[in-house]
């Protein structure tokens, strides 16, 4: 009975009434959705990718500083009106130490996020495969302190290095060793593209520039905390070395340096020379680890308080110090340059097409933080001077006081004045 009553109610009129109501409701919802989408649509931005080590076992110490510098640049540039009226936006991802993770992040950033440039790849073991992957995932990519020669030697179309590389660093370090008369040199090298690259380059340049010098290379596994076995081997070298070079990443370089002092390796007058400028990256850690043993240690770098900074460099120093309360280390200055180069390329070409940008950047001529930046683009397929800036000078410093700031250390090479 009830069922029949219900069936009676479904008439054409009621059908039209409810059906029409449903159509109106759908139309209202659709209109509201469209209005919402239109009104709340995020303003278009220019996206810059940062793939850098942000977690262990990658060098997240450097990665954090790189990311902070990129964020600072975006904040600074957006404060000036952005690029072509659009704000910059950072898309970040953890590089890790696994190239496949970094490459998959690169693919996502290029295909989904539509980044127009990439900075931040750090350890050469990952930075090099990422450079190769940009061939299939086109985006202009910048390197500063990824030292593997092959990053530029492979002549990748979109990879640019505004920084140093193994061959250059080793060759310049040998100039100092020769000038200082250091002939018997022990070198602890990390078992990585960085460490072995330094070993090969020091051997090559040693024979060319300073054949009187004797190098003893002691490889050390990555990630170690105890270097007593390696240092015992240094102790066994006769005659005793007059220089111990440590080519390890942080924090291992500090750990090995500390243990070398504790084992008495510096008692006979031998000096410790950190193969990179890690003491400038985080001076607090350096002095906490090395203690008084840090006095007398040396390091090469590409920034000197005695050098003339450009107006761009002075501005960056000021912006960075205001934000973070400390001085940036040299790689961060060069990252700042990379980001400026990218923005200039977009502004001057009016394009975000990777081919257009890469072509422009090949011929870049811009004031960098530490000097004029132009790139060398030799077409010889074996040359590492491809998309490579070479206008930097290496300086060697020595700490002369406990807890001395890196900028106050004594410049021992080239001589000041």
């Amino acid at each position: 009975m009830t069922q029949a009553k219900t069936e009676e109610k479904v008439t054409r009129r009621s059908y039209l009434k409810y059906g029409g109501g449903a159509v109106v409701a759908v139309a209202v919802v659709a209109a509201a959705g469209y209005a919402y989408m239109t009104l709340t649509k995020a303003p278009e931005t220019i996206k810059i990718g940062v793939i850098t080590p942000l977690s262990p076992p990658g060098d997240y110490v450097s990665g954090k500083l790189i990311l902070e510098t990129a964020q600072l640049f975006v904040e600074w540039k957006n404060g000036q009106g952005g690029v072509q009226g659009k704000n910059l936006e950072i898309i970040q991802a953890d590089q890790t130490l696994d190239p496949s993770v970094a490459i998959s992040n690169l693919q996502r950033m290029v295909t989904k996020d539509k980044i127009v440039g990439l900075v931040g790849p750090w350890e050469s073991s990952v930075a090099l495969p990422v450079a190769g992957a940009t061939q299939d995932n086109p985006v202009v990519t910048f390197y500063t302190y990824s030292w593997a020669d092959a990053i530029t030697q492979n002549h990748y179309k979109y990879a640019f290095r505004i920084g140093v590389y193994n061959s250059l660093i080793a060759g310049q370090s040998i100039d100092y060793f020769k000038d200082a008369g250091l002939k018997n040199i022990a070198v602890i090298v990390e078992e990585s593209p960085y460490g072995f690259g330094q070993r090969d380059s020091l051997t090559y340049w040693g024979e060319k520039k300073y054949p009187e010098a004797k190098f003893t290379f002691i490889p050390a596994a990555m990630g170690k905390a105890d270097y007593s076995a390696e240092l015992s081997r240094v102790k066994g070298i006769t005659p005793s070395p007059d220089l111990l070079v440590i080519h390890l990443n942080v924090p291992h370089a500090f750990v090995a340096g500390k243990q070398a002092v504790e084992m008495g390796l510096t008692k006979g007058g031998a000096k410790i020379y950190f193969g990179n400028d890690c003491p400038t990256w985080d001076p607090k850690s350096f002095w906490e680890m090395m203690g008084q043993g840090g006095v007398g240690t040396m390091f090469p770098t590409y920034y000197s308080p005695n050098m003339e900074m450009t107006a761009t460099g002075q501005e960056f120093m000021s912006v960075y110090k205001t934000k973070y309360g400390k001085e940036p280390f040299i790689a961060l200055m060069w990252y700042w340059d990379c980001l400026r180069i990218l923005c200039e390329a977009i502004e001057k070409t009016g394009s975000t097409n990777p081919d257009t940008l890469a072509k422009y950047i090949e011929g870049i001529d811009i004031e960098g933080t530490t000097g004029r930046i132009t790139l060398v683009n030799e077409t010889d397929p074996k040359s590492m001077l491809w998309h490579q800036w070479i206008g930097m000078t290496q300086y060697t410093f020595e700490f002369t006081e406990f807890q001395q700031e890196a900028s106050k250390a004594k410049q021992v090479y080239p001589p000041v004045g």
């Binding site: 905390a225 076995a229 008495g264």
Partner: protein, 292 residues
């Protein structure tokens, strides 16, 4: 006529071995009692290092006095992890409890590393020296920090041996390790035994981390290398055997020192794994391990 630097490498190897032994003992204790491969062990080591550093900075007392804080930190975190992550694997019915527990400790490891990075910062830190300076033994220069680490390791290992062989809790650990069902029938609470063993293992890792912080420093992922070495030592000596942990650690320390010194450091690891493989081939239970 001994080869040059023989005593250098011998003493370095013994010191390294005793340090490795303390690292491994906690892992051995946990495996022996709970049959659990504890992949978070390296992080308890790291927590011990930070506990020593921050307690020393906060209290201003000599770092050697603050070693108990490292053990307490390891103990408390160990207790929490056992209750929150591991306990379910032996109190509830599940298909693959060992795999669950192993993956659980792996997750704890990643979590603690990243928490440490955020809370303590990514940079390497070093606690002040226990005793500054160095000492000459047979013309070998040893930092006094290493001497302290070696002495405390040895004392702790002896204490642990006494504890396991004579106290009620120690006997319960041994009973559960030997025959879990029999231990339950005898009235031993497996839950309590596991809880205490896991906490004690974490406390030992915390102590070894603290002992080595003035020598190696501490950073968020420092635990990986000691964890790796501890597993090698544990398998070499015999899983679950304390004597094996000590002898295995001394062998690994001496191999590292002599091979690195007389041949080349990369061959030290090759030699270590070759010895490990040899032991596994000829005595799969390790030097002092027992067949199940």
């Amino acid at each position: 006529m001994l080869p040059p630097l023989f005593f250098d490498f011998l003493i370095t190897g013994i010191v390294l071995g005793l340090i490795y032994a303390l690292m491994t003992t906690g892992l051995t204790l946990i495996y022996g009692v709970m049959r659990l491969s504890n992949f978070a062990h390296g992080e308890y080591y790291m927590i011990g290092g930070y506990a020593l550093l921050f307690s020393t900075l906060a209290l201003g007392t000599p770092s050697i006095i603050n070693l108990p804080f490292a053990m307490i930190a390891g103990l408390l975190v160990g207790f929490a992890v056992e209750r929150l992550v591991i306990r379910d694997t032996y109190t509830k019915v599940m298909a693959r409890p060992f795999e669950y527990a192993m993956l659980g400790t792996m997750s704890v490891s990643v979590l603690l590393q990243n928490l440490a990075k955020e809370i303590c910062g990514p940079f390497v830190r070093a606690a002040p020296a226990f005793v500054p300076g160095s000492v000459e033994i047979l013309e070998v220069t040893l930092s006094l920090n290493r001497v302290v680490a070696m002495a405390v390791s040895l004392t702790t290992l002896l204490f642990l041996y006494w504890f396991i062989t004579t106290t009620k809790t120690g006997r319960a650990w041994r009973a559960v390790a030997q025959n879990r069902t029999g231990a339950v029938i005898s009235g031993i609470s497996v839950g309590r035994t596991n809880f205490l063993a896991y906490g004690a293992g974490a406390a030992l890792a915390g102590l070894s981390g603290a002992l080595l912080t003035p020598i190696y420093g501490v950073w968020p992922n420092i635990g990986w290398a000691p964890l790796n070495l501890s597993f090698v030592v544990m398998i070499l000596g015999g899983v679950g055997s304390y004597k094996g942990a000590l002898i295995g650690a001394l062998i690994v320390g001496l191999i590292h020192s002599f091979i690195a010194g007389y041949i080349s450091p990369p061959y030290a690891d090759v030699a270590m794994y070759a010895v490990l493989l040899g032991v596994l081939v000829f005595k799969p239970t390790g030097m002092f391990g027992q067949a199940a």
